[in-house]
Assembly symmetry: C2
Homo-oligomer: 591 residues x 2
């Protein structure tokens, strides 16, 4: 047997699961043992993430329909909170594309974009998301997010990326388009308004896209060929957004493109500390925002936990789902009161944080402090930043979210999963973002019910002189004419109980010589009340037709339940066997 | 081994499942072999069912908010159609209590009771129910009704019976109450209007109830003690409704109670053939009626198929679910065009039909012809029939539907099933009849998902020198420190995949000496795409921590899928074992 790259299990990997105050305040774990050499990585990572985050935060705020500074405000207090409460040491929390889209979808029907109410509703959404995530973490409902299956999430993310991409067309091309919830309308409007494209704006946007793609795909190769240290290559390839922001701003500033060519710019971004902000406490508004809040809570957490787990496993650290919910929940509460909007752990920035050497949550706190400095001192620099550059940053970021590979993989492996992926994808595009994810969850659940409603059933026979019984269709086995042993490969519950009954009656009807039916329960993990009732009526039906019914290989916990209710006694204890072999011997089928 | 009352399997029991034209026209089976002695039973049963059906049909029509003759019309053509197309030879189709309640709930918000529109909407509902059932039968979607689990149906039926009972209070007491969808409002209104009770009306109603209960429970004993032939006892005990109708009518007629005491009577019931009627074809109306139509299609079919199956098994006849849907569907279409409203197979009348000796569908056709004669010639007799008598008939019929026994049974057997029963019961009473059943279905599905989301997992060890491996907590077994074998008793899918991952990581974290983990897949019937992805990441996480992961006892179909997608190759074929024992030998855990 091969032994794969085996390494010693480090102590940290085990002890992270331990209790004590560090369970609820995970920063105690790293703070108490903080070493000077940790600081270098944390500082560098904090700086590089800041460079990425400043333009992204503003871009995502615009995507959410909010002023750019709201994205920056959301990148301060939440990051400090997550750095202290999160169990991931490398997760980079803040505004992300999909959550921003969900904020826009949730708030836009209730307030006019740009209004004070709009901003307050976004805050309120952060409050609700924070409460939902915090409470789910406290009562340990983290497992609920598993209802979002991977294919549903993949379908949702891909479709959301397309929706986000199209929503940025207006900024990229410098046209004005009516806001629409409906993707088809959005596409039609884009086609209609395309002739109004501002050429200079589009040129800046496309150039930015080209530069960003080069930084993403080409630069790394070049730098490696130039034998640059790997520890510098990764950070450098991530400075693309900063570069396009600088170039775009300079172009507008020097050529006066905002005035001469009508290039739309970000304009005045207020300088100074984040404001103290208060959410709405109107029950009507809470109710109206609830669907969006639930979607953001689930989708945001899923995105965050996936990247946190995948990074943690590389360093053998452990992520606690429920503590993550608490940390993200409190981070969102922090965003609520400091002028922000809903945040979560983002994929690309977390990967950069990790690669740049973040060792502890201090990296996240350093990023927050640098963003704070930016907000206080540097916002005037963004005055001439063209909106088309921010659109380009969003477009390149979401392009990577369109996930054809997963679809191909899932299609090959399992058509039912592929159907739920496609259903989600289609529903998000055709019906809407929130309805789409609900459709996906419902499709996944119904497909699972459907799948378990027609369980695999195998007539089994004895292999040679062993006590092993296998499917007669897959193995050369001995059977006997008067007794039939059927293995049902599924728990018995309301959705499959009629199928079981019909199948067994059909088997008996097809084989007039059969006098005994043995049901093998080795794969039956539970029998619900509906199935129990069906079994009772099946036994009566078979008895009326002169066929005896037996059960073999029933698991301990299932047998315990059957005894409680008197089923075993009613059927007769002599109709239960510990193993298939025992049953077949008793029925004179073999010896 | 005991051999239970074994009888020869009759040919009919097997051949009923056969194909040919008889598959779609089941009456060919009995018509071609019809014998003179069959006729006696069919005639008697047809007559007795008619005696029961006439008052019930009028009562249920009133319950549905329709004129009494509509109930009679719905008891002619649909019965002939079912007699020809149904696979049950003893099912008595026609108006039933719960479907009538659902008709009232569905139509009342759209039209004023008693108006021509109300009657047309009830017809339209029959059309939709007919189309839905027919199409479900044709495309073989009969299994969909299994989504209604037994506990949900029991909770629904009990709550609906209570709602029906309260809706009859106004007729029973002779008070006027505003119609309400809400059960609580209904109860409050009943309390408020109780002082207006008409004493004579109430007296007739209560006397009718007493007589009906006596016929139901006491009369049989008396007749048996008088040594009357059993074949007469059952039919006689079912004449209760006819007796109270006669007595009530005579009382009003002779004492002039309708004028002197204000007892409300049925009044003019038009005589003559059922009218040719046309449903609405407005898409808006269809859409508005769709929820009610779906509920009636499912609930009606469930009630019908349960009684059909239970009666058929007593005579070793077979019921074909999809043909039953077709037969009920066409029967409802028949009701649509002959002035009726939705019908289904009813429990009590079917039992009477069976007990009175119905041998073939001809019994149902005879009932239909007798009802036709009634409609043409006898309706003037119902003029003085007091409404309170019909209310008494309904009350006694639905009293038997309140099913405390099932609740106790389910509560003892399985709390999750009991919760879905209670949720349905509560939702029907507190929210409404249609919402209630949806709540129940959703609760049952979510409880099933929840149940499968935390699968039973057992660490197993070897029993003595056998090749059998069992739960270390239940059996005295040998284990070894460096390898752990875990059996997971559930298919792996999106809702339980994180639980599996967390549990295994926890097990390994708790046992630092473990170098090998073997996952035993004997009870894993499938692995979906989400679970596959989780397994892949779990394997990486374990590998990073110096732990190897193996799979044993994976079933053939599951293994085939894993090979398709390249998982087996990626993990290494030497990491798969045919049995737990093989794995433990290879890992030097045993010999």
């Amino acid at each position: 047997m091969t032994t794969l790259n085996r390494v010693k299990k480090p102590a940290v990997w085990r002890s992270d699961a331990a209790g004590g105050p560090a369970r609820y305040f995970p920063f105690l774990k790293w703070l108490l043992h903080y070493q000077r050499q940790d600081l270098v990585g944390d500082l560098l990572a904090g700086l590089i993430v800041t460079i990425m985050l400043v333009p992204q935060a503003m871009a995502y705020a615009l995507l959410a329909g909010l002023p750019p500074e709201v994205g920056l405000y959301a990148s301060i207090v939440p990051l400090i909170i997550y750095g202290l409460l999160g169990t991931s040491r490398t997760l980079a929390v803040g505004p992300v594309a999909i959550v921003s889209l969900l904020v826009a979808t949730g708030v836009a029907p209730l307030a006019e974009q740009g209004s004070a109410l709009y901003i307050q509703l976004a805050l309120t959404l952060a409050l609700l998301v924070g409460l939902i995530q915090f409470l789910m973490g406290v009562v340990k409902l983290g497992f609920l997010v598993n209802f979002l299956s991977h294919p549903v999430l993949a379908g949702f993310t891909s479709a959301a990326a397309i929706v986000i991409g199209f929503s940025q067309l207006k900024h990229l091309l410098g046209i004005s388009m009516p806001r629409s919830e409906n993707f088809i309308e959005q596409v039609l409007a884009a086609v209609e308004h395309a002739p109004e494209t501002n050429g200079i704006t589009m040129a800046i946007g496309l150039a930015s896209i080209a530069i960003l793609f080069y930084f993403k795909n080409g630069l790394g190769r070049l730098l490696r060929r130039a034998r640059l240290a790997e520890s510098l290559v990764v950070p450098l390839t991530k400075t693309g957004p900063l570069v396009v922001v600088l170039l775009g701003t300079l172009a507008v500033l020097l050529l006066g493109l905002d005035k001469t060519a009508g290039v739309k710019i970000v304009g005045d971004v207020p300088a100074g500390l984040p404001p103290l902000s208060l959410p709405s406490i109107s029950p009507g508004i809470w109710l109206a925002l609830l669907p969006a809040a639930l979607t953001i809570s689930f989708v945001g957490f899923m995105e965050s936990i996936s990247v946190a787990k995948s990074l943690a496993s590389k360093r053998r650290q452990k992520i606690e789902s429920n503590q993550e919910l608490i940390a993200l929940g409190v981070a969102n509460l922090g965003a609520t009161f400091t002028g922000g909007y809903p945040v979560t752990g983002g994929f690309s920035r977390s990967v950069v944080n990790f690669a740049a050497g973040a060792n502890t949550g201090l990296a996240s706190i350093i990023t927050a402090l640098l963003i704070l400095l930016t907000v206080i001192f540097l916002t005037p620099l963004f005055f001439f930043l063209p909106q088309t550059v921010l659109a380009a940053i969003i477009l390149v970021a979401v392009a990577g979210l369109i996930d054809v590979k997963t679809f191909k993989h899932v299609w090959k492996y399992n058509k039912a999963d592929a159907v739920s992926l496609l259903a989600t994808f289609g529903a998000v595009l055709l019906v809407g973002v929130e309805t789409g994810i609900l459709v996906g969850v419902a499709a996944a659940i119904l497909l699972f019910i459907w799948r378990t409603s027609r369980p695999h059933m195998a007539v089994v026979g004895r292999i040679g002189q062993t006590e092993t019984y296998r499917n007669v269709l897959r193995h050369p086995v001995q059977t006997c004419p008067h007794a039939i042993a059927v293995r049902v490969d599924q728990s018995l519950y309301f959705a499959n109980t009629k199928y079981l009954e019909d199948s067994i009656l059909q088997m008996v009807a097809d084989r007039p010589e059969v006098k005994h039916v043995v049901l093998i329960g080795i794969a039956v993990n539970f029998i619900d009340a509906s199935a129990l009732e069906t079994l009772e009526s099946l036994i009566h039906e078979l008895r009326d037709a002169g066929v005896d019914f037996y059960l073999a290989d029933i698991k301990g916990p299932v047998m315990d339940r059957l005894k409680t209710i008197g089923f075993v006694e009613a059927v007769g204890t002599d109709h239960f066997f510990l193993s298939t072999h025992e049953a077949m011997v008793a029925l004179n089928c073999t010896n």
